[in-house]
């Protein structure tokens, strides 16, 4: 087991965002977390990566308790993440965006006398290539198309060579074509690098297309977890999703 949470809980004021969540993620698994807006998906991610402090419960990563660690320490241990809202370094070039993360991975960030432009070129370009941005390496990050920025962000996350990757709505705001391409890319990267992946996603085609297992979150609790087939057939899950304005759920059920 690569990641485990025990009775993880967080509330904001009176609102319980995450309520006694027990996760058991096996190495190499591709897990998606779904649930209506406000189900606590992003909060759960933020708890796992140390972005916000945990009220109670524990997070165990590779058999070590990481509950109280700050984000940079958790990241150093091998948990990478992308964000729901775009999170790149807009005025740096695509190359530099990745290179900064590679420096960190190689523990070169504190090197004050070397010339950055001559270092880690190969590693940086390898990552740019794997996310399909090698030909745009000199483009300023903020000027890339939305889909490319999402790829770039994933590249930044990959550059620190995580063993567990958390992606928060990787295909958000993408056209179906872009979204399909990115899904393929995610699958490829996970396989190539032997990553464990947890991702939050609203696009049910993506979720049911690539997940090994699905966790359904509702009002901060795990409502159901299991293989895609089982989730599809579960009545409780259906009931929660009935009001889903996207209608994706009902269309999937009819399949």
């Amino acid at each position: 087991m690569i990641l485990e949470t025990q009775k993880l809980a967080k509330s904001f004021g009176g609102l319980t965002a995450v309520h006694d969540v027990n996760l058991h993620i096996q190495e190499g698994e591709l897990v998606s977390i779904i649930g209506p807006n406000g189900a606590g998906k992003t909060t759960l991610f933020n708890l796992l990566t140390g972005h916000i402090s945990v009220d109670s419960g524990r997070v165990i990563f590779k058999e070590k308790d990481i509950t109280q660690l700050p984000p940079h320490a958790i990241s150093r241990m091998g948990i990478g993440r992308s964000f729901q809202r775009l999170n790149i370094f807009p005025r740096l070039s695509a190359f530099e965006n990745i290179q900064v993360a590679v420096f960190s991975q190689q523990r070169k960030s504190r090197n004050i006398f070397a010339r950055a432009s001559k270092l880690a070129r190969h590693e940086t370009e390898a990552i740019l290539e794997s996310v399909g941005l090698l030909d745009k390496k000199n483009v300023t990050g903020g000027l890339l198309a939305h889909g490319d920025q999402k790829r770039l962000e994933m590249g930044i996350a990959l550059a620190v060579e995580p063993s567990l990757l958390l992606l928060d709505e990787p295909t958000q705001g993408m056209s179906p074509k872009e979204s399909g391409e990115l899904t393929q890319l995610i699958q490829k990267l996970v396989r190539e690098r032997g990553l464990t992946l947890i991702f939050v996603e609203h696009d049910m085609n993506v979720v049911f297309g690539i997940s090994d297992s699905i966790i359904v979150l509702h009002q901060g609790k795990i409502l159901f977890e299991g293989k895609p087939d089982k989730v599809r057939k579960n009545e409780e899950v259906q009931r929660v999703y009935l009001g889903d304005e996207r209608g994706t759920w009902s269309s999937l059920l009819r399949k």
Binding site: T49, P70, P71, H72, A73, S75, R76, G80, R81, F83, R85, L86, N87, I88, F89, P90, R91, L92, E96, N97, Q99, V100, A101, F103, S104, Q105, K108, S109, R110, N111, I112, F113, A114, R115, A116, S117, L119, N138, V139, T140, G141, G142, L143, Q149, I156, A157, A159, V160
Partner: protein
């Protein structure tokens, strides 16, 4: 025009050489008053670049660089005047002490960001100013310290000028190395998106503090140099008006360029001399300049030029801060 630009760009080193040569012959071709003006430009160029390590490269807006500049100046002044330290030690102590005090101040400041960070730096600089202003027995209070016993060799204005030129040159070279290093790139990433860097295993505050300390040390060098050149120090050195000078120098030249504060310093010091000779309302014109810069030239002179010229040079445009994404 484009051809001119291309030529200029491809002859960068030649340009630098010409500039250095010019700076080298300044004492031979100029009156003493002009030599001291160029000297001041050099010192403020260093102060501006030191501040810019925080401001432009790390994205930390400090309103209190003058405090650390004054720490450098007073360190040299007090060690020479009160304790008769050897000259070299009095000079070298300036960046060391400025770095240490910068570290103490920075330790508190990096716990807050944006406006709160800026206000903390201002508050600490005012504390330094108050200590200097009130502690008559040690700092000379508002009388400052005059007739500092610098070595006789530096009584000759050109000798002193060459000392400044050499030290500023080496310091700028060091700063240039820093901003081009992996550390410097990491600082730029922090400027762009501090929160994100934590998730690539960067200990954010530690890097911000390092930038603070480095910046302080270089400000200390600038202060020390000015102390040696003028042979005196005054509480004004720590005053917020001095901090404003440094900020405007960065703003004027453009803080997304290494050379920005250097150009800014030259233009600013020149303008302040010219205008303040003609009119008492230098501050009025300063205000007008700031308004103009913020409204129309947000990336300063160097930024403005390279923005207009970059497309001609590279065939692509860089985003200005106005249209920057997220």
């Amino acid at each position: 025009m484009n051809r001119l630009v291309t030529t200029l760009n491809s002859h960068r080193f030649l340009l630098l050489l010409v500039l250095l040569l010019f700076l080298f012959i300044v004492p031979f071709v100029m009156k003493e008053s002009w030599v001291s003006l160029v000297n001041e430009m050099l010192v403020m160029a260093l102060a501006g670049c030191a501040l810019n390590l925080m401001l432009g490269y790390t994205g930390m807006i400090s309103f209190g660089p003058a405090g650390l500049y004054a720490v450098g100046a007073y360190t040299t002044a007090i060690l020479l005047t009160r304790y008769r330290f050897p000259f070299a030690i009095a000079v070298i102590s300036a960046p060391v002490l400025a770095g240490i005090i910068g570290g103490l101040i920075g330790w508190f400041c990096v716990r807050r960001s944006a406006v709160y960070f800026a206000l903390l730096t201002l508050a600490f600089a005012q504390i330094i100013w108050t200590i200097i202003f009130e502690w008559y027995g040690f700092t000379g209070g508002d009388n400052g310290i005059v007739s500092i016993p610098i070595p006789e060799f530096f009584f000759t204005i050109s000798h002193c000028y060459y000392l400044t030129l050499t030290v500023v040159g080496i310091s700028l070279l060091l700063l240039w190395t820093i901003v081009q290093s992996p550390f410097g790139k990491t600082l730029q990433a922090i400027r762009e998106n501090p929160g994100r860097t934590e998730f690539i295993a960067i200990h954010l505050r530690r890097y911000q503090l390092s930038a603070f300390v480095l910046s302080s040390a270089f400000l200390g060098i600038a202060g020390s140099l000015f102390c040696i050149f003028s042979g005196s120090v005054f509480p004004d050195y720590a005053h917020w008006v001095k901090s404003t000078d440094m900020l405007v120098i960065c703003l004027l030249g453009g803080f997304y360029n290494f050379g920005g504060p250097i150009v800014g310093s030259a233009v600013y010091i020149f303008l302040s001399k010219i205008i303040s000779k003609e009119t008492m309302f230098w501050m009025f014109f300063l205000g007008v300049i700031i308004v103009f810069l913020v409204l129309f030239m947000r990336n300063g002179i160097v930024g403005f030029l390279s923005e207009k010229l970059a497309p001609a040079l590279h065939g692509t445009s860089r985003p200005s801060s106005d249209e920057e994404a997220q």
